[in-house]
Amino acid sequence: MPTLTVKFEAGVRHLSFIPGPSLRHILDATDTQVRSGCRGTGACGLCLVRIESGEAGEPAFAESIHLDDAQLAQGVRLACQVIPRHSLGIVILAPAPKSPWRRLDGQGKRRKNPFPLNELPQSVNKPYGVAVDLGTTHIRISLYELSSGGWLAERWGLNPQMTAGSDVITRLVAASESPAQARAMSQWAIAAIGEALWDIAIREGINLQQVMRLTLVGNTAMLALISERNFDLLLQPSHWFNVIDCLPDDTVSWSIAWNIHPQAKIEVIPPLAGFVGSDLLAGVITTRLMEDKGGSLFIDFGTNSEIALWDGAMLWVTSAAGGPAFEGSGIRCGLPAEPGAIYHVTLQDGLWDYAVIAGDKPRGICGSGLVDLIACLVRLGTLTPRGQFSPTVPKEGFMLVRGESDIVLTKRDVDMFQRAKAAIGAGIQALLANAGMRYEEVQRICVSGAFGGSLNVLNAQDIGLLPKISPERVELCGNTALSGCEDALLSPGTVERLQRLADRAKIINLSHCPDFDMHFLENLYLQPLRGA
């Protein structure tokens, strides 16, 4: 992979990239961004960089307008117009003010069913729509042109409520104990969405007053906290499997906070129950799970993994709490899927190899890397299906990378992973049992959440993380919550589909499943799933 070397006063930074996107896009994915005021069309002329080494190609037309001959002779260019093919050394002449909002690339994304024109308000010339996935850890938003369904911009960043606790329960307790804290948490989330929108506005040159529609999904706790409605009920087990009203009383203050059109239609997709948020519903909608004949499984991997099984007539849903191992948390050298995380591990002819996100030096290992590593070790016989290392492995664990930061897999890590896996496996088994189905009848599996698109399906199946069906029928769907939210924003008929979903859904409480312990124990083994 070619490398982009960015020189700063403080030092240099090396970024590996796959040729294709512009220099601005490459930088936008990092926290060292270049200033901009348009969507990278060359219109604003703000994204100045100087080429220090390497071949950047001939200046584009937009550059000949914004830059004079002297600048061009010095190697000054517009980052949005340079498409690097090979390694390049640059200096950012116009650094952007630091923003906590990272850009997601959705260039060329277009929705098949744009919002029907006749339903659009006539008062605004070019109406925009915004989709928001309000997650426990991250907030993701995307902006679309409503009439064409064309993608315009996307951002993701941390949910500022993280400062009040990284898990949902801590935040719910804090909110229940103090009205001021509840108020603050709602305000933080609202402000964060506003900041992300503002980041789009200034960096992409978007007039937010043209935003006429905003659709928001999230887990039940996040919706209850932002709306300041019934969050205390979520602390009572009797409500976890019931409908909880967490829609906001008034959204006018939200549209003011976000500086969008005063008549913008703000829609919060209601959750199904305490444990089944609208983020899961969005996932079921966007994967079109319920349009299949039956035997379709949807798994949203996370600390609390939601699992849905469509049997052709009913949608069986449950939530399995297995701990944060898939997100790299609680693992000695674990990392979330971020730059520096090993996301693939292979073993060929006795040689270990690995791939690191953003090509940086490895700092740790994320969920998909963990699956690969454990599967390879089991295949090699270095790790038993029970999770015991062979005597050749030192007490400290298996060392994958020796270097500046050693990357080690301990027996405890494997244990954590086994527990997380067993929770999912037992959950799947419970759904199958309720639907009266067997593993062999699973026709399709949609994987969303923690693993993104990086999961090695064969490895996952070999250690029993996924049922063993033909790998082509396993789809890695990435973040289905945002994409389902976009469906709700843009496609007519989504509301009807959501209603149909609610009518057909049956929520399964795992604590009422008689054989749960036995299934959990069976699923602790690192081996392919056996028949239910």
């Binding site: 329960i169 087990p237 029970r386 015991q388 027996k411 124990l521």
Partner: protein, 214 residues
């Protein structure tokens, strides 16, 4: 040879091999070894070794569960009617709180305590605080154990002592354990003790009832 036969039982238990463990018990019984001795020298000895292995983190959850299953299987063979195997030291009420399906930790503790001579009143999983406090009132135990794997149960744990005090049961100790609770402090959970493992819980209980450790 009595000793080596007993060693084979201990090994089968530690391997989590229930079938083998039951075979070994059959052989011991044939050789005329009393049930009581099989419990003390076999099951209890295995528990002591398991204790040591868990302390140095040699064992993972699966191994502990398999060992527990094997030990429970052996108990069932020895006492098919579930008669109390030993003179009990004291009673302990325990349960996994409402909303939590993972009662494995609780089951391990139950197995360890039973093997070590406690009478365990198990309220099961997904147990409401009310039901747990009812059991405490009825059984007059030395302690009540509550467990939970997931953090969602923390708010319930924090109410336990108060609910017991309301019924004049404030003097009975409350022990909490389980993945979700291990990180917390006893004060923050409003309990008397947080057991880091089943054996940690056992040692604490032994301390309360005044059992001396050799």
């Amino acid at each position: 040879m009595n000793d080596s036969m007993m060693d084979l039982l201990v090994k089968a238990l530690l391997d989590g091999d229930q079938t083998q463990a039951i075979i070994e018990v059959g052989k011991l019984r044939e050789a005329g070894v009393r049930r009581r001795q099989i419990i003390t020298d076999g099951v209890e000895a295995a528990m002591t070794q398991l204790d040591a292995k868990c302390t140095v983190e040699q064992f993972n959850l699966l191994e502990i569960m398999l060992c527990g299953r094997a030990a429970t299987g052996v108990m069932k063979v020895l006492y098919p009617l579930g008669a109390p195997p030993l003179q009990t030291k004291a009673a302990v009420v325990m349960g996994t709180l409402e909303g939590d399906v993972h009662d494995l930790g609780k089951n391990i503790l139950k197995m360890v305590l039973t093997a070590k001579g406690y009478r365990v009143v198990d309220c099961g999983k997904d147990c409401s605080l009310e039901r747990l406090v009812d059991a405490v009132e009825q059984e007059a135990p030395v302690a009540a154990g509550i467990s939970g794997l997931i953090t969602t149960i923390i708010p319930q744990v924090r109410q336990m002592k108060d609910k017991m005090a309301e019924r004049g049961l404030g003097h009975i100790k409350v022990i909490a354990g389980g993945a979700a609770l291990k990180q917390a402090t006893a004060e923050s959970l409003k309990v008397d003790f947080i057991a880091q493992s089943a054996f940690d819980g056992l040692h604490y209980l032994d301390q309360i009832v005044g059992v001396r450790h050799e």
